[in-house]
Amino acid sequence: MNNIRELLLKKLNEQFSSAIESLNNFRDETTIIIKKEYLISVCTFLRDDTELAFDSLRDVTAVDYSGFLQNQPPHDHDISVPEKIQQQLDTRFQIVYNVYSMKNNFRIRLKVKLNEDEKIATVSTVWKSANWYEREVYDMFGITFDGHPDMRRMYLPEEFQFHPLRKEFPLMGIPGSLPLPKH
């Protein structure tokens, strides 16, 4: 397992040394934050490299970090982590790609930082499975994926104006935001 991780990091450092923003290992899981503009080339490389062979994209999601670690006292455990994470929180969103290599039985997490008004390139051209996952992110967070073949909402009606998993959306919903059809 560790060999694959080392091989992956070595190859990424060789090919995309300027693309990697930060690396993190927490609970034996590897998280790599990459720069937005390198997303497609890094993903294509991960998929096509015969040794790494990250052929399966298992999930895409986003995290809204607005208000993260604010107004709350630090707890007594793992004091070192907040400082590390705090540096990464200069954008509102982070898109999280859960990529799996069937050949090596190895999973990594790719992350891309994104501001509220920014768009991000779709990886559905690299892995077909990204199609629905990205639609779900679009529906729940309002993040648009550039070049996506079918950018429609996943769960909610097209007319719904809000994105429920954004932190400002109240848990009980917004009254009157979704009227029933008249007939």
């Binding site: 298992r58 709350q72 982590v81 994470i85 069937m102 997490r109 892995w127 007319e159 848990l171 009157g176």
Partner: protein, 417 residues
């Protein structure tokens, strides 16, 4: 608040349907195509799945699944529940195998909070997960056969499932939404009575499954309706993110129980059934053989399960026993703190997945050190497997759609979350 007005709600979905790639030849094409709505209340759509299909005669040339009729916002709810509170919600995701969902969620939280569970708990959880797999596959067996017109098997498989529910009733106290796993353990220890019940069940199972097998697999109509229908290739299955019996039905013996062993699966001996055909029948066989493997696992668990405690000594993270709360001050305080303020895991993020009955069931949790998760994402296998369905349906006859939906075995509770 500005009112939203409904314009043409189906315009974009019809556009998406028309935009789909339809590059294959039909023997006897018609001049016109027709758009047909299947569901959301069609009896064969397993709940509230709606399919938009474009037909040329009786051949489906493109298809779009439309979700959202059940959307309950579980991920938003997860961000506002404490880690303990959310266990009951996981039951409602894949409601055909709630025990497996509990186990998947608690394993993710334990990974985040770094809680080690005892060996006995690990065995009990494996027993729970395998019983959940059996219960879920029995529903598949019944409904899939019913979809292609064999009704008797539905009654038989539900009879067998009821026996499992009886065991779960004695084990967990609840028949359906069990909420049995706890962070750091399970709600109650497994009694000898339950052990005896499982052992009796395991003994009578081969004969019962053989009856079911004999009934459907010797039936020419059943085989003809399943063989070669709903084909999905190995490459497409991987690329489109399919997991579980769909991936294994396409010839890839990928199973997280073996590839990423969790609990005590690496101490148990079992096979991963896989078939190369990639059609409805292959997926049927995969599940049928998986049930037999689950019985094998249950049998080994009953032999190997050790005696011991079902809760680790971690009072700041694990709920104390109920009887101790009523008699001891320390336990009362711990219970109060855990219920009111939560377990407060360290800041960080984890993803943990198990092999659920339908595929990879994973929970991604981002923690800000508070009592509730900052973000809780559920990687539900039904949602991901449904994405493969248009590829399977395309080029088949309209009557095959029900068999294909049956073979995907979606549970809309977790697809719509």
């Amino acid at each position: 608040m500005r009112k939203v007005h409904f314009t043409e709600p189906s315009e974009r979905i019809i556009q998406a349907l028309n935009d789909q790639d339809t590059s294959f030849t039909i023997d006897d094409p018609l001049e016109h195509t027709m758009v047909l709505n299947m569901g959301p209340q069609h009896p064969a759509t397993h709940g509230v799945l709606r399919l938009l299909v474009r037909l040329d005669g009786e051949t489906v040339i493109s298809c779009i699944p439309d979700l959202g009729y059940l959307h309950r916002g579980y991920e938003k709810l997860g961000e506002n529940c404490s880690y303990h509170e959310f266990i009951t919600h996981t039951d409602r995701l894949d409601y055909l195998s709630p025990l497996a969902n509990n186990v998947a969620y608690t394993l993710a939280v334990e990974k985040l909070a770094r809680i080690e569970v005892t060996k006995r708990v690990q065995f009990i959880r494996v027993i729970c997960a395998e019983m959940a797999r059996l219960a879920s596959h029995f529903v598949f067996l019944g409904t899939m056969c019913m979809d292609v017109g064999a009704l008797t098997i539905l009654l038989w498989s539900f009879r067998e499932r009821e026996k499992l529910q009886d065991i779960m009733d004695v084990l967990t106290g609840v028949r359906f939404t069990n909420s049995f796993a706890r962070i750091g353990g399970v709600a109650n220890d497994m009694s000898d009575e339950v052990k005896k019940m499982i052992s009796d069940y395991v003994e009578q199972f081969p004969e019962k499954i053989y009856e079911c097998e004999k009934l459907v697999l010797s039936n020419r109509i059943f085989i003809d309706r399943c063989e070669g229908v709903g084909y999905i290739s190995k490459e497409d299955a991987i690329s489109m993110g399919a997991t579980g019996p769909i991936l294994r039905g396409s010839g890839i013996a990928h199973d997280l129980r073996r590839d990423h062993p969790y609990l005590v699966y690496n101490e148990l001996d079992f096979d991963i059934p896989a078939f190369n055909e990639g059609d409805v029948l292959a997926r049927f066989y995969v599940r049928l053989n998986e049930m037999k493997e689950s019985i094998k696992i249950l049998r080994q668990c009953l032999e190997k399960i050790p005696q011991g405690n079902v809760k680790p000594p971690a009072p700041k993270k694990v709920l104390p026993d109920k009887e101790k709360i009523y008699s001891k001050m320390e336990e009362l305080i711990n219970d109060f703190m855990l219920i009111n303020f939560g377990i407060n895991p360290p800041i960080g993020e984890v993803y943990n997945a198990i092999e659920g009955s339908k595929g990879e069931l994973g929970f991604y949790i981002v923690s800000d050190g508070d009592g509730t998760p900052w973000r809780l994402k559920i990687r539900s296998p039904s949602f991901c497997n449904l994405q493969v369905m248009p590829q399977m349906i395309k080029g088949n006859m309209i009557s095959d759609i029900v068999a294909i939906i049956g073979s995907v075995d979606p549970v809309m509770g977790e697809a719509d979350k």
